[in-house]
């Protein structure tokens, strides 16, 4: 956003400190607008005044303008599955954070038979991978018109739409695109793509059906010309595809184009190119080689541009060796570096434990906690899990850094009154905290058992070590 200090926002606010926005002062609200944890429209008094007074309205509009993201935000899809892309502010995540994770769209094509289409769609819809307290899922579909038959494309688009996920419709032939839009425009798909050859028709389609549109051009002058033209024609939801070339100089050139597009938008404030960028890792399937080579290279291209400015991607492979690493990378890169990821400390009951069940210990680093909780839950282990406040640091680092200590363990034992809930005094600590064994025993009087290094192995460990031999 254009503004750099809360004061610049503050000057636009009513300055009454009425607290309606949920913040104590207008200044506090202003600083949250600045880091994008609050929205201008949350200041209700300002909005209400604007409805009555055109002068205030003007002020409000100005404020919205100067606090809007550097890169336009584009919404694909409708309802609660709709996905936002773009909306970025910075070139490096430590300068603030990256906001809208790269959207992953998976390939379905209309010359595939219906049963295969169903299989692919179901795999995408049902995909999940547990990570840091929630399941990572896939965002949507890219429906390609390989038949060049408007009727078939429409039919398949409709079928895929029934899965309720956001879609990219892919056809360079405007007739095919129009045919599909007649059926699914209300799902607000992203249409791909306007090119130097068909931009007029696509401009009309985007306007008529009110859908976001992707522009595809390798020459950045052309890309910018089309987007400037679309912008002036009143199209707001534009996505830029500077053409992903999968190999050699081509890929190097793609890297350059992507970096330059984003730098141009953010450093030079060029609004003609301040739109989300679309990358097509699917292009990797054009290279020579076997399926694993292609899939690996698809993951490589995706990885490159998850780190560098890809806001949406089209994938062909739905194999785990492509999906899992890229999905995890996306999560990592888009994690907000300003806030430590931690959970509340305390006692967590696993699978309705009884007094004879084991007591485990872990830290409140979200990654650690959720990994452990899920490992134990899915192994159907009954037990009591003590979560120590290590200020969001994992086991090994918190032992090394003095955030997990015997006295902290003593505290949590007392606070949670765990001794009253179980009929034994055995505490299972993580293998990586083994060196605290003696100290904890001395401090708490509990007998400490050193568990495995990885919580995924507690089940096997239990078979040998629980109940403890006296």
């Amino acid at each position: 956003m254009k503004v750099k200090s809360p004061l610049e926002v503050y000057n636009f606010l009513p300055r009454t400190n009425c607290k309606e926005c949920g913040y104590d002062t207008c200044m506090s609200f202003a600083s949250h607008v600045l880091d994008r944890s609050a929205k201008v429209l949350d200041c209700k008094p300002l909005v209400k005044d604007a409805e009555k007074d055109p002068k205030v309205k003007e002020k409000l509009d100005k404020l919205i303008e100067i606090t809007s993201p550097e890169i336009a935000e584009v919404v694909v899809g409708v309802g609660d599955k709709a996905i936002k892309i773009g909306g970025e502010e910075v070139l490096h995540r430590h300068e603030l954070t990256f906001f809208n994770p790269t959207a992953f769209f998976f390939d379905v094509w209309d010359t595939l038979d219906d049963k295969k289409i169903q299989e692919r769609c179901e795999r995408v819809v049902n995909y999940k991978k547990f990570y840091v307290g929630k399941y990572l899922t896939l965002d949507g579909f890219a429906v390609r018109c390989t038949s060049n038959d408007p009727k078939r494309f429409k039919e398949v688009a409709k079928k895929v739409a029934s899965y309720g996920k956001p879609m990219v419709l892919i056809a360079l032939n405007p007739e095919c695109m129009k045919s599909a839009l007649e059926e699914v425009a209300n799902q607000k798909p992203l249409i791909y793509a306007a090119t130097e050859g068909n931009w007029k028709e696509f401009m009309k389609l985007a306007l008529d059906y009110k859908v976001p549109v992707a522009i595809r051009a390798k020459d950045l002058n052309v890309l910018k010309s089309i987007s400037a033209t679309f912008k002036s024609a009143g199209i707001k939801e534009i996505v830029l595809d500077p053409v992903t070339e999968p190999l050699g100089e081509g890929l190097q050139g793609t890297f350059e184009r992507v970096v330059q597009l984003r730098r141009k938008a953010i450093l030079d404030g060029d609004k003609d190119v301040a739109y989300p960028i679309l990358i097509t890792p699917i292009s990797a399937w054009l290279i020579e080689g076997d399926e694993v080579t292609k899939a690996y290279w698809e993951a490589v291209i995706a990885g490159m541009f998850i780190v560098k400015y890809g806001d949406a991607m089209i994938f062909h492979s739905i194999d785990q060796h492509v999906v899992m690493p890229t999905l995890t990378l996306r999560f990592n890169i888009y994690t907000d570096p300003r806030t430590p990821v931690q959970v509340a400390a305390g006692l967590k009951e696993l699978n309705s434990p009884g007094p004879e069940d084991p007591v485990f210990l872990t830290t409140n680093f979200a990654l650690t906690y959720y990994t452990v909780e899920n490992d134990l839950n899915s192994a159907k282990i009954k037990g009591w899990l003590l979560v120590v406040n290590t200020e969001g640091i994992g086991v090994e680092a918190s032992v090394a850094g003095g955030k997990l200590t015997a006295s902290k363990v003593k505290e949590i034992i007392q606070e949670t009154k765990i001794a009253e809930k179980v009929n034994h005094k055995y505490l299972v600590i993580p293998g990586l905290a083994a060196r605290l064994q003696g100290a904890i025993e001395d401090e708490t009087g509990w007998k400490v058992l050193v568990g495995p290094i990885d919580s995924g192995r507690v089940k096997g460990w239990m078979e040998k070590n629980w109940p403890p031999k006296k």
Partner: protein, 453 residues
């Protein structure tokens, strides 16, 4: 019937709908806009109003207004006839039945010709260039040297400044059988137990630029091999391969300085990298040995830019290390296990160095083998029932190492210590590609749009 709709009427309409600031609009000439149709869809008026207020800043001159009208009619989809007489029908309740007549939409016929001027960024700083290995000419026995660093721009931004040295890859070799993921172990089974053979395989078969020999057996908690004994292995390795080498200790802060000191001695003239000096050990002793025998020191901190700065300063100012003899390891965390911390820490370090912080402008090293610590890389399948099955781990493991390395290469890493041969090969390909060393590409990058895969 076709109604003549003049700009005056248009402005009147705008006034009626309370659009401000139009006083400023200059009307030149007598433009007329023709519209067809006989009814106004009242529901479109609200939309019109909000659109107008959003766009009012753009009303600079009449042609803009003209353009704008056309745009509005397009935006309303097909039946959005705007017609002067009906517009005064402010009573919203009685909307006359709209007659679907397609208006003539005039969209731009030509592209606005825009030029994209690529931005160029110049940094004041430069990353030190550090040479590993020494050939005969320089008093060593290596066949070639490996140069690290020398960048004047972010990694692979060769459009800003050429990148003098692409990242190098060193494969890990251990002096005792390490515990390794199965997918990695299978590639080294035949050479475990013979570091010299192991090193040879890394270079000859897997294309390593260098090898790192980790003297893990010196660990007091393991074999506790004495320093003088342990370093014999290095002599074997130096015989077996002619690439520059890196020597790693066991990580014990009391033992490592002694071991690395001894290693420095037996490697005199070979310009090896001693890994590592850390804040909590006798770094001065390691540096003394490095200076005496002409080696490079790896300055290792745990993901903390300030600690990295502190340790580098110690090495420079207190231990008097030459600037061309320091490489940094700011610590690598695997994909999914802290990679975000590692990436951002390295990226910040690199940017600081380029911006002119002379405590941080050294080449960066990454222990990418850490990727194999991530359960996703080595477990046969997910321990969680809810997960979609993880697929064959033989395929998951290497890509975990690749993506970890790739990500950190974009943060600025100059030398990777890694293990899986496939990961080594793929990362090499990536570096050569982004470094502009791979010619060609595919003939038609748009083919996927219609290809049946």
């Amino acid at each position: 019937m076709a109604n003549k709709y003049t700009l005056e009427d248009f402005l009147k309409l705008l006034k009626e709908y309370n659009v401000e600031r139009l006083e400023d609009v200059k009307i030149e000439g007598d433009l007329e806009i023709e519209l067809e149709g006989s009814a106004v869809d009242l529901s479109s008026i609200t939309a019109l109003y909000s659109l107008l207020s959003e766009f009012r800043n753009f009303f600079y001159h009449t042609s803009m207004a003209l353009n704008y009208l056309q745009r509005i009619s397009t935006m309303f989809g097909v039946p959005a006839p705007l017609q002067a007489p009906q517009v005064q029908a402010v009573a919203p309740a009685v909307a006359p039945a709209p007659v679907a007549v397609v208006p003539e939409i005039k969209l731009p016929e030509k592209l606005i010709e825009a030029k994209f001027e690529s931005p160029k960024i110049e940094y004041p700083g430069v990353i030190e260039e550090v040479v590993l290995g020494a050939t005969k000419a320089d008093g060593g026995t290596r066949d070639y040297v490996v140069k690290l660093g020398g960048e004047k721009s972010l990694a692979f931004y060769i459009f800003d400044k050429p990148q003098p040295n692409l990242p190098a890859i060193a494969i890990d070799v251990f002096d005792r059988p390490p515990s390794l993921a199965k997918a990695v172990k299978v590639h080294y089974e035949d050479v475990v137990g013979s570091p010299a053979e192991w090193a040879k395989k890394c270079v000859k078969k897997f294309g390593a630029d260098m090898v790192t020999i980790h003297l893990v057996s010196t660990d007091p908690l393991l074999e506790n091999t004495p320093a003088s004994e342990a370093v014999k292995v290095i002599e074997d390795v130096l015989q077996a391969v002619k690439c520059p080498i890196i020597i790693g200790g066991c990580g014990n802060k009391d033992k490592d300085p002694e071991v690395l000191e001894k290693a420095a001695e037996v490697c005199e003239g070979e310009r090896v990298m001693l890994a590592s000096a850390t804040l909590d050990m006798d770094w001065a002793r390691i540096c003394e040995a490095a200076k005496k025998y002409g080696h490079v020191v790896l300055s290792w901190t745990q993901m903390d830019i300030n600690n990295q700065k502190t340790l580098n300063r110690y090495l420079l100012k207190r231990a008097g290390m030459p600037r061309n003899s320091i490489v940094m390891d700011p610590t690598t965390a695997a994909l999914g296990y802290g990679l975000d911390y590692a990436f951002t820490n390295m990226e910040r370090i690199r940017i600081s160095g380029l911006k002119g912080d002379t405590d941080l402008n050294f080449p960066i090293s990454s222990g990418t083998t850490n990727a194999w610590g991530a359960r996703e890389s080595w477990m046969t399948d997910s321990p969680l029932e809810g997960d979609t099955p993880w697929g064959p781990r033989e395929l998951r493991g290497p890509i975990w190492e690749i993506i970890t390395g790739l990500t950190l290469s974009l943060a600025g890493v100059d030398v990777f210590m890694m293990m899986h041969p496939l990961a080594v090969a793929v990362l090499k390909e990536i570096f050569n590609t982004l470094g502009g060393k791979v010619k060609g590409g595919v003939a038609d990058a748009g083919k996927w749009i219609t290809a049946e895969v």
